[in-house]
Subunit: 195 residues, 2 copies
Amino acid sequence: MHPIIEGRWSPRAFAADVVAPEVLRVLLEAARWAPSHGNTQPARFLVGYRGDDTFGRIFATLRPGNQGWAGAAAVLLVGMVVTADERGSLPNTEYGLGLAVENLALQAVDLGLAAHQMGGFDREAVRAAFAVPEDVRPVVVIAVGRAGDPASLPEDLREREQRPRRRRPLSETVFTGVYGRSAFSAESADEPDHE
Amino acid sequence: MHPIIEGRWSPRAFAADVVAPEVLRVLLEAARWAPSHGNTQPARFLVGYRGDDTFGRIFATLRPGNQGWAGAAAVLLVGMVVTADERGSLPNTEYGLGLAVENLALQAVDLGLAAHQMGGFDREAVRAAFAVPEDVRPVVVIAVGRAGDPASLPEDLREREQRPRRRRPLSETVFTGVYGRSAFSAESADEPDHE
């Protein structure tokens, strides 16, 4: 596997470093060049830097479990999708946002950073806080920064931070001929270290 | 931008080369290690190799426009999502499939291959042809192979194949403070060559 794919993980401990706008721009350029259905480019982002007003208002929408660590990130992003245009509703918009955010997450790894995606936030609170239009849907909050020392985390999170990453074997997820008939054996490549 | 991100594009012309199962396995391992909501891992795949029965049955579900070129690919995959488990419906499943397929597409670039994703296919025909369960939804068909000579394409597709790639500037997609207020100027990094 390519090292930026194998090396990607989702830390909760972040270092104090800031992420400069010109660095964040590279991550967002990577997202920009992702493919999308008929090049409809459904992905939109809100960006806050630790200490600014947008960061604080994104943080306020997070579930308490995420507020326990995400405030230490250098940047908080909200990933959103445009669900319709003048021709009507757009297909595969959340799928397209996923394609874009994975580019962003891998570009972060290449620059020595990490991105931790969160579904646990209040979508309607984001909509209200940032005047998100009706045809745009907040989907994910993304914490970005340099991975930090797990010792900086509360005990319970520290343990999770160092837990090995686990995935289903390909034998349970990749099929041929009929759904459920394995195309590959369970044997798999070397596995990354982190959740 | 990292070269495997900048170098990714979606060709319609494919070379005659086959893609060996051990190579396809690396692409699917890359997809396997993508993040997902609570590590729910919603992505599932069907795999067909050019000339086999599964490839033919996936090809038969494609819209005519895609049938005009996709039969030359070495591999056709169907990307699907598991929408529910024993605890109920799963969140962000199509988003999670997007994260996984972008890993697959970038791993393909790293191995000198290309992946072209298609939304234009008959989902119910895939469900019927492969006995896809009710709680699993086909989302995308992915053609994989080595990019070929555009001269091998019909005239109309040949022109599209060589058209420059275009994306909205970040000034229209990345906001701060309030939805619609640009976080970045329109100036952008060097742009890749292909659609």
